[in-house]
Amino acid sequence: MSVLVNQETRILCQGITGSQGSFHAEQCIEYGSNIVAGVTPGKGGSTHLDVPVFNSVAEATSEVEIDVSMIFVPAKFAADAMKSAIESEIGLIVCITEGVPVQDMIEVKAMLKGSDSILLGPNCPGIITPEETKIGIMPGFIHQKGSIGIVSRSGTLTYEAVHQTSMCGLGQSTCIGIGGDPIKGLNFIECLSLFEEDPATEGIVMVGEIGGSDEEKAAEFIKDSITKPVVAYVAGVSAPPGKRMGHAGAIVTGNEGTASSKYKALNDAGVKTTDSPALIGEIMKELLNQ
């Protein structure tokens, strides 16, 4: 079992002929992901990576059964790409693109509210169910099928947690990179809830960072609704206020969004936290052995 995606998942790649889309779609296919179609306006009718290319998402969905769309189009077109995937009622939309204007995301989120689509990202590494399907830019080989669900706002820090849980033999059920933008699709709470319901997931790793109050909300939710062990790390204890730390959403504004406030909320909720990302794997192993 896993959450959201598995080996059956049929994937559309929006922007499949672009340099990023092409490179990563190929990597996904090599990993075993079932990419069934691509979209690039103006290139409909052609084939790329042995996959049929369509002019629009609507054209693609009328010809091929699609469960997930993986978006690699440039930031200025990303909102339109997400909107067309929502219009075509694609179940899960994974937007990898970084640099989407936050104003565009207000519109996309409003449109999502009235739809059945789920959005992951933007500015995220994607989602992977090890040894089944990889939908995104994460390095496949560090993953190992197993029992830990990972949800994270950071890409490389997710890889760090993945690597550790692989090394100590726990492996991962599914890893979800929710991305570093201030306004985004899936958040901690939805992912925690999915992992709670997934029989294959025995423990959950949550990687947060400074900015906003998503970790605080997640802490409340964990206290009330999560029975599985959770290990949490929050990046940015040493980050100065008012400075954007790489991710658009990673900024402490006034008193809001500090790592210490997030740690406090998580500790108060009974979550096992660590101030060192190097210890995530070990701590999880200890928790599961108790």
Binding site: Q27, A75, K76, G99, V100, P101, V102, Q103, D104, M105, I106, E107, K109, A110, K113, G114, I137, M138, P139, I142, S152, R153, S154, G155, T156, L157, Y159, E160, H163, G180, P182, I183, V207, E209, I210, G212, S213, Y233, A235, G236, V237, S238, A239, P240, G242, K243, R244, M245, G246, H247, A248, A250, G254, N255, A259, D275, S276, P277, A278, L279
Partner: protein, 390 residues
């Protein structure tokens, strides 16, 4: 991207939000002639820096003669203004804005911002103006009025009118307030602003609402469609190394410590800083070389790191996913050779082609300290700095 007050007021006045007449000046003589063009016998000289709290820091002064305008402008220009929102070095005052004076009956607070929690636009208004709004929110939250736009419905005039009611406005002032708030949303939409703040919004003796101050911040990710605003960019208000890094698509933030970091990924870069601190060191910077780290980018990153004179050691932490460790190792080798770096470099590589990368570093003959994992890397770099001091 932050705009100066005079730039923000230009946008206000273009959209019909009332501001006082004013002119920008870069020299005391220009300030004098700017003042001469303005009506009245009182002028305000305002330092143009990207920080709030200017008034208390001596960056806003009232002049009662043209000679005083000249004097105040010459005192401000060419100095650094230190406010409670800047660091201890302050920000350079390269321009002053000269405005006509005005009568003030009362001061209010008004802003419109992208609200990440509500995932929409939120107005914040208060009858307490000209003060720190966060302090008001903390001490007397009942004085704060909010309205979040429902993105499905769009801006609702009735809600703006309710805000005006709650501010206690009636008659003509009521409709002035509704008009100003409506125009703020027009600017926000048209210019991709993340924040439009008027603090204070004042009511003068003629019952006119006027934006006495103005602060606009534009969404950096939307600059591709705001080309006409690019001329408003003022790099003198930013850290030099941060500007240089961003020109090379590197994400860099300057910090106070002496251990430089070069990392791939924003989260891992923050975590690396945190670990340095956890093990008793002080990070000199945040630097994300990104997913597409080529040899050239690594070299540029090391160049930028080394421009900071406080740096005593470098920690390079790469989790190779799409980025291959051998490419990073090659970049490090070339950069170190071309810039003659003589401070300790601790390198932790993990992921794709890690063996190859490690071998390249070992065979380079450089004094690179290899680390096996995150903790080991942090401990080694911190102790390398302490040894150097002893």
């Amino acid at each position: 991207m932050n705009l100066h007050e005079y730039q923000s007021k230009k946008l206000f006045s273009d959209h019909g939000i009332p501001v006082l007449e004013g002119n920008i000046a870069s020299s005391p003589d220009e300030a004098k002639s700017s003042a001469e063009k303005l009506k009245g016998d009182i002028w305000v000289v305002k330092a143009q820096v990207h920080a709030g709290g200017r008034g208390k820091a001596g960056g806003v002064k009232i002049a009662r003669s043209i000679a005083e305008v000249h004097e105040m402008a010459s005192e401000m220009l060419g100095t650094n203004l230190i406010t409670k929102q800047t660091d201890e070095k302050g920000l350079p005052v390269n321009q002053v804005y000269i405005e006509s004076g005005t009568s003030i009956q009362s001061e209010y607070y008004l802003s419109l911002l992208v609200d990440r929690t509500k995932e929409s636009w939120t107005y914040i208004a208060s009858i307490e103006g000209g003060v720190d709004i966060e302090a008001v929110a903390e001490e007397s939250p009942e004085k704060i009025i909010n309205y979040t736009i429902d993105p499905l419905k769009g801006l609702e005039l009735s809600s703006l009118k309710q805000m005006a009611d709650r501010m206690g406005f009636t008659d003509d002032v009521h409709s002035q307030f509704v008009s100003i708030t409506k125009k703020m949303f027009e600017i926000a939409k048209e210019k991709d602003a993340n924040l439009i703040e008027v603090n204070p919004l004042i009511l003068d003796d003629h019952n006119q609402l006027i934006a006495l101050d103005a602060k606009i911040s534009i969404e950096s990710n939307a600059l591709f469609r705001q080309e006409e605003l690019l001329s408003f960019k003022d790099n003198s208000q930013e850290n030099k190394l941060e500007v240089k890094a961003s020109e090379h698509d590197l994400s860099y933030v300057s910090l106070d410590g002496n251990i430089a970091c070069m990392v791939n990924g924003a989260g891992l870069a923050m975590a690396t800083m945190d670990l340095i601190k956890l093990h008793g060191g002080e990070p000199a910077n945040f630097l994300d070389v990104g997913g597409g780290a080529t040899t050239d980018r690594v070299k540029m990153a090391i160049d930028i790191i080394m421009e900071n004179p406080n740096v005593d050691a470098i920690l390079i932490n790469i989790f190779g996913g799409i980025v291959r460790c051998d490419v990073i190792a090659q970049g490090i080798t070339e950069a170190v050779k071309s810039t003659a770096i003589d401070i300790p470099i601790v390198v932790r590589l993990q992921g794709t082609n890690v063996e190859l990368g490690t071998r390249i570093l070992e065979e380079s003959g450089m004094k690179i300290i290899s680390a096996s994992d995150l903790t080991d890397a942090a401990i080694k770099v911190v102790s390398s700095v302490k040894e150097a001091v002893q």
